[in-house]
């Protein structure tokens, strides 16, 4: 009996030994698979903008992004007839808005930006990543960013020149995005706009709220279709301007776009129902009624530069 047991144990020992001689790589792969990791979702959107509005995508850490964003005039103005054709459907209409911006990412969770557009409109912003979509150690289904910007109106005009403070307005947005699949990403964008100063009027309000939705669908690795819709919730009807005349804004903002990643640059071509270049004017001061001709053609073009060295050259 004892002898049998001994044989059994010796056999067992050899078995242990044999199993320990298993393939090294297999062990390594197994160990790696068992390791608790954070699998972050990358490239939810191609660019830091969906079309007009910010996307959950951020400029990479240590990268400086330069963006030119341009909107032409309306494709078709009512009652203008052939002039519209002569103006090449808005391309040559004499009314266009160019927005230029720089944004830099000192940290992977923080973008700082500065932008300027026609008529002395200046903007500066910070974009914070609060949550990041990931699986693995933690399972977070969405990416959540806080986008916070201030806008300075430096133009001459009927707006009060007395206090510089009156020229400021602010935009705060939550960007809640999810990459559903390789191709489809959607985003929800509640916004809060605050004006330091509004002209007197019973319907005029300092705080304007809006809710937006945006998304993209990838066609190939380099191209995607994108869309955007935002609805202003208050403060667009029967307002008064500086000279006490009535103003009505259009609460809807619709855009359709096409993203093209050329390898170094990202182009976004789009049709949008607003000719303005700044987010505040698009969301809360839109004057283009959503009708077929009232869309303008535009594009965003951006390019990133790796400023900070991340990779150590051996």
């Amino acid at each position: 009996m004892k002898k049998l047991l001994l044989y059994l144990i010796v056999a067992c020992c050899f078995f242990v030994k044999a199993s320990a001689q298993d393939d090294l790589l297999g062990d390594l792969v197994k160990a790696d698979a068992a390791k608790v990791k954070n699998d972050y979702t990358i490239a939810t959107f191609k660019s830091t903008r969906i079309i007009n509005m910010q996307s959950v995508e951020m400029t990479g850490s240590g990268n400086l992004q330069f963006m030119i964003s341009h909107r032409f005039g309306s494709i078709w103005k009512e009652g203008k007839g052939w002039t519209n054709v002569a103006q090449l459907f808005g391309l040559n209409a004499g009314a266009a808005n160019t927005y230029m911006s720089f944004e830099y990412a000192p940290k992977s969770w923080l973008n700082l930006g500065f932008g300027a557009t026609g008529n002395a409109q200046l903007e500066s912003w910070a974009k914070f990543r609060l949550l990041r979509q990931q699986t693995g150690a933690k399972n977070i289904p969405v990416t959540v960013n806080l986008f916070s910007s201030f806008h300075f109106d430096g133009s001459e005009g009927p707006s009060p020149d007395d206090f510089a403070w009156n020229r400021f307005s602010y935009l705060n947005q939550l960007l809640i995005g999810r990459k559903f699949s390789d191709k489809l990403s959607l985003q929800l964008i509640p916004s809060w706009i605050h004006y330091n100063y509004v002209p007197y009027g019973i319907n005029n309000t300092n705080n304007v709220f809006s809710i937006g939705i945006g998304g993209r669908y990838k066609l190939t690795n380099k191209t995607a279709l994108s869309f955007e819709y935002a609805r202003q919730l208050n403060g667009y009807k029967n307002l008064l301007d500086e000279s006490a005349s009535a103003v009505n804004y259009v609460p809807d903002l619709i855009s359709l776009g096409y993203d093209w990643d050329t390898g170094g640059h990202i182009f976004q071509f789009f049709f949008t129902s607003s000719a303005s270049a700044t987010n505040i004017a698009q969301l809360a001061q839109n004057t283009n009624y959503v009708r077929l001709g009232n869309f303008s053609l535009g594009f965003n073009l951006n390019r990133s530069y790796g400023i900070k060295k991340i990779v150590n050259t051996p």
């Binding site: 004892k2 020992c13 050899f14 030994k17 792969v29 490239a43 990479g60 390898g263 990133s304 050259t313």
Partner: protein, 184 residues
């Protein structure tokens, strides 16, 4: 009976002792720059998270690099690397499995620099290819560092590079691997 159990434990202990000459490390640094102009830093990428095993008795080695741990100076290139070129969501790891040739146990015991070589297979982007390269082993202060510089052709691993990008890249990508083992 007691004796028997003692013998059994001794046997298990001995068999484990034979296996004990296996070193593991997480300190693998893999660097590459596919650009023709090696001073063009935008293209440089590196991973600090290579893991490796070395079995001293048989000179067997294995190396694993999770592809998502490669980081670039330019974030857009990193996105392209993951999404368009190496499809790291579907093929997460690159591996090497092989043997060190000219490697002996004694080299680890004494400080010095040894020129050895390595043979085996590399699996990258789901494609397995034979691999052969000289390796430099440096043993110093109980740390064994393996340096290996080798070249691969992207096409051989089914990595499709668009014609527009091709002129910017060298035909063969030089890769530098530095793997450190802490000896005990």
């Amino acid at each position: 009976m007691k004796k028997l159990i003692l013998v059994a434990f001794a046997l298990i202990f001995i068999t484990n002792l034979i296996d004990a000459q296996t070193y593991k490390t997480r300190d693998g640094y893999i660097f590459f720059n596919p650009n023709k102009d090696q001073s063009h830093k935008d293209y440089a990428a590196a991973s600090k998270e290579g893991t490796a095993v070395l079995k001293v008795e048989t000179s067997e080695v294995a190396l694993l690099v999770p592809m998502k741990t490669f980081h670039f100076n330019n974030a857009l290139l990193e996105e392209h690397f993951n999404e368009n070129y190496l499809h790291t969501d579907k093929i997460p790891n690159a591996t090497f499995k092989g043997k060190l040739i000219g490697f002996t146990k004694d080299q680890l015991a004494k400080d010095g620099v040894y020129n050895i070589s390595s043979e085996g297979t590399v699996t990258l982007h789901g494609v397995t290819k034979d691999f052969k390269s000289p390796v430099k082993l440096e043993v110093k202060n109980k740390v064994a560092t393996f340096y290996c510089v080798f070249k691969i052709k992207a096409e051989e691993y089914n990595v499709i590079i668009p014609d527009l990008v091709k002129p910017k890249l060298s035909a063969e990508t030089p890769i530098e691997a530095t793997i450190k083992f802490q000896l005990n």
